[in-house]
Symmetry: C2
Subunit: 384 residues, 2 copies
């Protein structure tokens, strides 16, 4: 684990079309931007952060949709609030789904994933997820939101929260404007969200940096409901931010992900165990035998199940299901997904009309492991 | 985790004094060998492996004591035995102490640590640990052994096995000859050990590579007694070797070491959890709630205790105690230990005559953490 910071502040941006044009040219030459063709949508995507332009930035003709800015994580409230914030901050719930940026491109409303791919699923369903009239009044807006629910193409359905029992829902947490990498100020965003009746992430109010104790009560409440955590947004012009997550979501992550031990780096697990431990310590959560059992069991059973899949040459796959308004978008998702998975494969199981929707079911089959884990299971030797 | 192999086989060695002289010259220039002065002992030590010479090799005048050869680790018997061995192999217990090479230098018998430091403690106590007459008959021999017990200067006393309740004991597992990097063949070593009545590691006989199941029964027995594991030595001229450890020792390691989370890399924990899981799977060990609880508790409590020590600015120290025949050797150990710890510190608590021994008690105080763990506890932010 190393402390990492984004190389450049997202605040230092291309100040005009001329400068941006130069950056795109240079990024293109350095293989940091490339043309994506997803169905009829052809655009330029930043595959990496380049100078002031963050990864996931998408350029459709004259329209630049900047990548959503990274938010750093703190591991302790007691020290972290005062270390990170000079002013009071707003607290919002962090929803555990996938991040999209929704914007109007000519007469369509498109949804981009975090990495800047047009998502055929989210785009297909946008009219179901929020009222799109906001783009008539404000065609320059970029709606930043989390999409969550069991019927989505990215996250395992077992991770969906209990209060989204089927399909997906969308929760807005920021607004940007096309051509700008910055988020609108908290109050301005709030007014727009209210005026246009957008579904927003739960808001928990304004806290001072010396109110770690007050925030602790909220965290314990979120922890009990296995919510992911909170995002803190400073009430100041610099819009300083930090995220902080619950112990229970880390426990769930370790359990769900131990079976992916062969894909994920060691740091992935240890960081989550570290966060869980520090959360329990700071918030005085009872360290029960049952919680310890869950952690130990999650780790061990996950690894054993991965080892057995590998040994039996079973394909490691996860089943997904989602509903579309348009059959063509389902087919486009399948094509896009195959590109995203690289050496992995997408197997479409079913695509059928059910009532008003086309229901798509598919598996992601991960590539055969060739790394250390496979080496060890084959009886390989290591010198440590 | 990456599969690592030693850069060079220890079998390709300096074939004569001329060639070795060249290697030492080059190693010296490349900062891979340096002069150690430990009390009256002045010699050359290889601080890294260099060409064919392994790390820990010590050169006293004309006498070259080669570093003990690295033994690779396998994680599965079912695949590993046949992958690694072409012939039957001998099985010996792997003792969990510290590795020494004992040899005669002029009229003294010295003990070197794995890294090639003369150990003032082990050297002081050699006559108590084994019969030294073997060096009168065979002054060229290098006795390779593990020293284990609660009263030692290197390993935490809580790790000592139950059947060495006090002081230390020595267990021979190989013989080498000065000037050669190779171990004597198994049967030849066995005869010498027997002839001179040396204390040997427990031997469990000869197994074929297709006898994973038979070896599994032994592993379960060792696991029940929280023994570290076994070393397998092929009965062939190439002397192929591998080590394989029990689940219970990995569980113990995780528990004892989680509190050192800030010094140890993430791989350290995950590898041990991985070994534990694969051991349980292969040997059909019952996956009980109690075992899971122990694993979860070991991880969490270790991290919390490390966090509290850090937060309270308490010094992280471990208490050691050992007995000497000669007071000067105890003092020399204190000096040597200070060199070994670098930025850490050795605090001598007590050095007093008790009966026939000088009893030394000391603490190792680890340097203050300045890495990621301290950063996080101070409320620092990371971008992951």
């Amino acid at each position: 684990m190393e402390a990492k910071r984004p190389k450049r502040s997202a605040a230092r941006v291309a100040s005009g079309p001329g400068e941006l044009h130069d950056i795109i040219d240079a990024a293109w030459r350095k293989d940091s931007a490339r043309i994506e063709e997803i169905g009829a949508w052809h655009y330029l995507r930043f595959t990496r952060g380049f100078r002031s332009v963050p990864v996931g930035t998408a350029v459709f003709g004259d329209t630049v949709v900047y990548g959503y800015p990274k938010i750093g994580r703190i591991f302790r409230l007691d020290q972290g609030l005062q270390a990170q914030f000079a002013h009071p901050f707003w607290v919002e719930e962090k929803i555990d789904g996938y991040n999209v940026r929704v914007f109007r491109q000519e007469d369509e409303v498109l949804a981009l994933t975090r990495r800047g791919f047009v998502c055929p699923f989210t785009t297909d369903r946008m009219a179901d997820l929020m009222d799109l009239t906001i783009f008539e009044a404000r065609p320059d807006l970029v709606v930043c939101a989390e999409v969550v629910g069991p019927d989505n193409p990215y996250n395992e359905s077992e991770r969906a929260p209990a209060d989204v029992p089927e399909d997906v829902r969308l929760f807005v947490f920021d607004l940007m404007r096309a051509g700008s990498p910055e988020c609108l100020p908290y109050r301005r965003r709030g007014r727009l969200v209210e005026d246009f009746g957008l579904p927003a992430v739960p808001a928990y109010g304004r806290f001072r940096p010396d109110e770690a104790h007050r925030l602790s009560a909220l965290m314990l409440e979120l922890d009990r409901h296995v919510r992911e955590g909170v995002v803190l947004k400073e009430d100041s012009s610099r819009d300083r931010r930090a995220k902080y997550v619950t112990g229970s979501i880390n426990l769930a992550d370790v359990r769900v992900s131990a079976k992916a031990v062969k894909q994920l780096p060691a740091d992935y697990f240890i960081q989550r165990i570290l966060r869980l431990a520090l959360f329990m310590d700071e918030h005085g959560l009872r360290r029960t035998p049952e919680l310890y059992r869950q952690l130990g069991e999650g780790l061990i059973e996950g690894i054993i199940s991965a080892a057995r899949q590998q040994r039996d040459h079973r394909e490691v796959s996860d089943g997904f299901r989602c509903r579309f308004r348009h059959r063509a978008n389902a087919e486009l998702l399948m094509q896009t997904m195959q590109k995203l998975l690289g050496k992995g494969q997408v197997h479409q199981r079913r695509l059928e009309k059910e009532g008003e929707f086309y229901v798509l079911e598919f598996d992601k089959v991960l590539p055969k492991t060739t790394g250390l884990f496979a080496h060890l299971l084959r009886g390989g030797i290591i010198y440590d």
